[in-house]
Assembly symmetry: C2
Homo-oligomer: 406 residues x 2
């Protein structure tokens, strides 16, 4: 069994970097704070005797050797970047649970056959740069290194420059790093486990996701003298689409999701009719056919709205991955470890994307969920119980040991 | 008759300060660029032999003495601050037309009985700081100097500090400056004159205006795992109100106006359900009873939307002035000058607020409109014809001379 107090202490220590007044964390990918967080975790890994390699997209692999050098590593990991108003656990828990597994093996002097590795992947959140889950996406070939490098934040700073600036542009070619099996522990980020009063979620699959940037172009004009009938108000047209995004999701329950999270209005002055509105659309479902239907309905609504209003509307898909069922071997390993340890459990489909959906393309992968308070995540008040985090880490330990062999 | 080429040259010269790539001007109130613009105009005034005084809110008065020192000045003016994506003419024309009147009087050696003054008022646009028409509002006692000083921009910088920083916090107590009559020339900022193919708009009245800040508070949560039924999506609720603002205006034609120009979404991340949305509301009408009805309907809709959605919604009125009919003497002076000069003309109600609505509280006031291209203003492509600007300036000259007596 792992040391729950040590795991908690590490989580609280890492959460100091970028701590926000409301108890959350703001540590956006490839900022100075991200560098500080990376340095802290890498320092801990070295103290635990791990060797560290960094690839060209800044993914970090921290390795504990096994007895059989010809076996690929059994890997765990997640990310340490956060949302602009994020919490202490999202991603960070998965990385530090991996470190706690290694510390526990060290304490007990356990030698595994396969090496054990703990990874953290660059820019999982996608808040500062799209595509989301960038590091693992490049690693598994979902998109190219150049695509990722070219991504810019709202200030025009690129991934390539920011990665070099914080000193995490490594040598290793992404993907040239073998993985035998991959496990990821994570808070659920939804209310299902808590509602059902279960401690461990076995994750059979992750919902597919489609992200879009939408731009409505109207005509800026003065809010006073311009008669209502002569306006080309980009915001009034954009809000129709924003509402439809939710209606589309409501038509495909229980796993349909539709969200507009980001809006920019130009010129954003109170007495100017908006000339341009940019906003994001996030559609999800666990069934790829339904996700495609949602995609088609959204495009059709945009076309109709453009025709009705006479305004030009552009929609561009900026991220997409299909629903991802996990490998039966890994799902079974998680289920078996949970039962062995005697934790209450249920299956939970993940609504959030995780690096594991990309590792699943190159190695058998699986995930372990633990409850978070009120199902709230991507919020500074995100919270989780030490006992649940400890339980998830114990399941991780046993699932990894089952695959790595002692 | 005034010198149209000189007027045009001065307009183009001033428009270089804060010029934008698309041919507009960005010279927000109390920025470094505003200071440069102020310095240029003050320099021109001094070259023309005018004496310059500045009051405590940064209003600038440039004076040409008359033969009778006991008479209050006949004043003209406007503003030189612009919208974030503003044009070359809005406000600037009114100030430089005044300067051109003075230059013309100088050229001809004309001595008026009453002094002639040209003013520019601080922060007319209200884009960076509310209340709008701040300088003239403080001058006429619509709100206090302390209220104006305390106003902050989105970065938290105050009017008091910014005014001191650019060196335009004068000594004179606002309002302690007599005005005999006030005229303001301005581009129409709407399509009426152009549609009717008229050169001069005589302005009988300005629409009243109500501005609000509205804040909808929901609950930030992750866009993937949070089921649709459990969301408190602040944007979905805010967009209902944004659409109703336009519906309300449509119910009170032909002068009803409803605009949402400014929106801020928190935390503004594409996979976070918005926890808070702030936005502006701008309602106008030329009839105060109708404007009040629009106000009441908006508040009632907000209450209903809050009750329906269960989300808290705050609305605060941040600016208000009632519809303003101008003084018959000044309206007649404009009409008479127009007829004397033989320009085509019609009456045009102003949908935009102007400093003249505040001067109207302390002195007989009137306005002169000229057409602008496609009725477009508060836009970088704002444009006006040199011949129209010259005509408006000639009308100003003769209306002022009629009041100031030669
Ligand atoms: N786990 C997580 O927050 N991933 C970010 C991608 C997503 O929005 O699902
Ligand atoms: N003329 C002008 O743009 N004034 C600003 C106040 C308003 O929005 O009417």
């Amino acid at each position: 069994r792992i040391n729950g107090d040590r795991l908690w202490a590490s989580l609280m220590e890492l959460a100091k970097i970028g701590a926000t007044p409301k108890g959350g964390v703001k540590r956006l990918a490839l900022t100075d704070l991200d560098k500080q967080g990376r340095d802290l975790v890498v320092g801990w890994a070295k103290e635990a005797g791990l060797s560290v390699t960094v690839d060209q997209i800044g993914n970090v692999f921290m390795r504990r050797e096994g007895s059989n050098p010809s076996l690929p590593p059994v890997m765990t990991g997640s990310h340490i970047d956060t949302q602009p108003t994020g919490g202490k656990f999202d991603g960070n828990y998965g990385v530090l649970a991996g470190l706690e597994v290694v510390r526990t093996l060290n304490d007990r002097g356990i030698v595994t056959e396969a090496p054990i590795e703990v990874a953290f992947w660059t820019n999982e959140e996608g808040s500062r740069f799209v595509p989301v889950m960038m590091g693992s996406g490049v690693f598994c070939g979902a998109f190219s290194l150049d695509t990722a490098y070219a991504a810019v934040d709202t200030e025009g700073k690129s991934v390539r420059d920011e990665l070099a600036r914080i000193g995490y542009m490594g040598d290793q070619v992404p993907g040239q790093h073998p993985i035998g099996a991959y496990f990821e522990t994570h808070i659920e980020q939804g209310p299902v486990l808590e509602d059902a009063d279960k401690v461990i979620g076995v994750v059979p699959a992750v919902m597919g996701l489609s992200w879009y940037d939408c731009v409505v172009s109207g005509m800026e004009a003065h809010a006073g003298p311009t008669p209502m009938g002569l306006r080309k108000d980009a915001l009034q047209v954009a809000t129709r689409i924003m509402q439809e995004v939710v209606q589309i999701a409501n038509r495909y329950p229980p796993y349909g999701r539709g969200t507009v999270g980001m809006v920019q209005v130009f010129p954003n002055s109170r007495n100017v009719i908006p000339g341009e509105v940019k906003f994001s659309i996030d559609l999800r479902n666990v069934n790829d056919e339904l996700l495609n239907t949602m995609h088609e309905e959204m495009l059709a609504f945009v076309d109709k709205t453009s025709a009705d209003s006479g305004l030009s509307i552009k929609v561009e898909r900026v991220s997409y991955y299909p629903p991802c069922p996990f490998h039966p071997d890994c799902v079974d390993a998680v289920r078996a470890a949970t039962e062995k340890l005697g934790y209450s459990t249920m299956d939970v489909v993940s609504g959030a994307g995780h690096d594991a959906i990309y590792t699943a393309r190159v190695a058998p992968s699986g995930m372990i969920f633990v409850p978070c308070k009120d199902g709230i995540s991507h919020n500074e008040i995100e919270d989780a119980q030490p006992g649940h985090l400890e339980a998830g880490c114990n399941v991780l330990l046993h699932a990894m040991l089952e695959r790595a062999r002692v």
